[in-house]
Symmetry: C2
């Protein structure tokens, strides 16, 4: 019995000792006492060679459960160290979607090598699975699931399920296809168990089956499965034939990956970066975004430069600029984030775009008046200049309206252009609020320069 949160891995020293002794039995024993996910974490502390040695020692059958939980990059490296026959055996035992993922990601030599080790039918399956676009249902589905036929009897169906060694994903609901493999219904195990043994599946199945198409965006599939509280979702091809199954564990991963990507895009980070990326890679992935920002920052600098005269005459303007800019940027990012997240969760339909825009502008107006009001008082008290207070009030109100407008408009426009709503948007929003805010603040100040200086 194991409390999930207080799990302690066995000493890596013990594992190394057993490996050195070649004690396959003790190693298998060690692995059996643990969930393969934890055992995989433990093995990943070893070198690729050591893990390869482990796999050869315990054999592909015993090693497969833990091997499936080993991280992708790690797995690739271990495969290169294994003997040809072990690789072949592992690949044959692996689930088809894991196998396809592996083939897709390894380099060409390894790809050819792996494909040559497979039987003809498996090879075709792999080639088909890797042909689906990266974020489609097809790329995530498993092709290993039980199906029943409309003309099966309940008795026959139960036998079949027992023999097909169902994976857990597929036990509660089984999908039913007709003679030409078209998906026509589903049936719960509970119903199957309780039905008279001689009934035909088509008589007792539920025909209201919900499915997705093989080219559907996986993020949309995740939203649908969450909407319906589904454990699994059947996938059909363009002729409505059942070709795969997406399961809850894929959805865990998709939801997490999607959230990370959105967060990263909002912060101008590449989705390929992670906390574990080596220094040089992080530098390389972040630099293009910083360079883009540098270009837009020069636009801001140019805007300020236009008003050099006024600033040199009344230098308080330079001190107040950051306040106008920071508040605008912050408010813009608030609008941006609310809208980006709502678009990602499918909470804004096309028809609601104007309403969202109007609301964000309204929020900008009201919070702009509030922040502008505070700054107006500061202008009056700190600098004892009512004109400065008035200009700050107007400039900040207008800038927060710009923030609401641009913060909500940019992601909605990107969505209509079929781009990711978060793509580079925070750079454009802060540039808009900086250029807009500084322009309004400094041109008002220039117009009222006599009054500002006469106080």
């Amino acid at each position: 019995m194991q409390d999930a949160s207080s799990f302690e891995e066995p000493g890596i020293g013990t594992v190394r000792e057993l490996l050195a002794k070649g004690d396959a039995a003790a190693l298998s024993e060690l692995g059996r006492d643990m969930h393969p996910a934890d055992w995989a974490d433990c093995l990943e502390q070893l070198s690729y060679d050591e893990v390869a040695e482990y796999m050869e020692l315990v054999g592909p059958e015993n090693g497969l459960p833990v091997f499936e939980f080993i991280g992708f990059e790690y797995k690739k490296n271990v495969l290169e160290k294994l003997s040809r026959s072990t690789v072949a055996q592992i690949l044959t035992l692996m689930s088809p979607d894991d196998r396809a993922d592996l083939v897709e990601e390894v380099d060409e030599d390894m790809q050819e090598h792996i494909l040559s080790l497979l039987f003809q039918s498996e090879r075709q399956n792999v080639l088909k699975l890797i042909s689906y676009p990266e974020n489609s249902a097809g790329a995530f589905m498993t092709t290993e699931y039980a199906m029943l036929r409309t003309n099966d009897t309940v008795q026959g169906a139960l036998e079949q399920l027992r023999l097909q060694a169902p994976r857990k994903e597929n036990v509660y609901y089984t999908y039913v296809v007709d003679g030409t493999l078209h998906l026509v219904g589903f049936i719960s195990l509970r119903r199957l168990i309780m039905a008279p043994r001689r009934s035909m599946i088509k008589e007792i199945m539920d025909r209201n089956v919900i499915f997705v198409r093989v080219d559907e965006d996986i993020e949309k599939v995740a939203r649908e499965m969450q909407h319906y509280d589904f454990l699994a979702m059947p996938v059909v091809d363009y002729q409505d034939r059942m070709v795969g199954l997406i399961t809850f564990d894929d959805i865990y991963d998709v939801m997490q990956k999607e959230a990370t990507e959105d967060m990263y895009l909002l912060a101008n980070l590449d989705k390929d970066e992670s906390i574990g990326s080596p220094l040089h890679r992080s530098v390389k992935l972040r630099a293009p975004w910083l360079l883009l920002n540098l270009c837009t920052a020069l636009l801001v600098a140019y805007t300020v430069h236009l008003f050099s005269d006024s600033i040199s005459k009344y230098v308080v303007l330079a001190a107040m600029m950051p306040v106008v800019g920071m508040l605008g940027g912050n408010a813009g990012n608030q609008s941006l984030t609310v809208v980006v997240r709502a678009l990602a969760l499918g909470e804004i339909s096309l028809g609601q775009h104007w309403r969202v825009l109007a609301k964000e502008i309204g929020v900008g107006l009201l919070n702009g008046l509030l922040m502008g009001g505070v700054m107006c008082i500061i202008g009056l008290t700190w600098f004892q200049n009512p004109w400065l207070g008035l200009i700050l009030l107007v400039a900040m109100t207008l800038n927060l309206i710009i923030a609401g407008l641009v913060g909500s408009m940019i992601p909605m426009i990107l969505r209509r252009l079929k781009l990711d709503p978060a793509l580079g948007s925070s750079i454009f929003v802060t540039t808009a609020t900086d250029v807009g805010g500084f322009f309004i603040f400094l041109s008002l100040s220039t117009l009222l320069l006599q009054q500002l200086l006469s106080v």
Copy 2:
């Protein structure tokens, strides 16, 4: 058969007509053709009174599946319109966790009313469930699941599972308890079906059962379930007695909510806001963050104000300030986001904090040299001033180092203080890069003012 993505709801007019006619049979028929999740979306277009009328018409038993999918706020309002006896029946039929959620959220009058409608044992169950802290496993678990005893026979266990009308969550794995309800193992349905009918459960069960405690943070439970690819996770009390089960559909919701919260915190938004929040509420929820930012912005303004003399003498400095500030803010948010996300996903252990810090400082140094280099060239070409170029190079490099330092340090410190790593952190990061960046840039410029002006 229904493609999930192209679902069309039946005309709301039809539903209203049937309601007016009081045609319970046709309404039930309409609902049966749809997944309850879609039927609920459809009913939510009606008024509370109409939905209450629907529930009374089709009766609690028929209405319950769709009622469970109706949004929480909506549900509460409908309940208030229903007759006492219908409310009692619905509550008795609801799953215990849904019931507890409802009781927890309604106002006191309604709460007393609901509790008075329940039997003693159900009342105690509800009171116990609502006593768990908001984000604990206890607050999310269901208490409706099948359990087996160690001394059951396989034959008896199968009978029991059939009779207990298991919910889908609980079919594949069933948990095993001993005579004092302590969790001691689990068994898969597959194993149960294939085992000799007279074996005892304790002989064939798997003893390596992984569980969480009732007070465990639900976000951590979600991570564990994803780690193990679990469909369900058993929950035990402080005496190791099984008290509940957390299922995959809870995890879908937790993962989504957690991601939204982190994104919102990074953008200085309150977690209670959503795209549907009314205008006045959004204004109220965002204003405190903007006010906090206003305070820190004044600190930035003060920093700039210290160098008024230099700026008025060489006003190009005012134009270059935004470049130094924007790039620092952007780089700081990059570091911040990578670290916040990694902390949320449990990818950084306490021991790795220094390594993360060192890497982010390294990234800041290298990208700082790159961006500073570009700005150095611009200083040379646009303003033809090598001293300005040199100052920009040094100031931007140092500012991006500050960005990496502060961007990674703040969330890690917040985590050690047991606060949310994203809490207000972007405001502090941009303030640090603005204050730091401007101070370095302007004080270097002041030191080298003669040289700057002599070119």
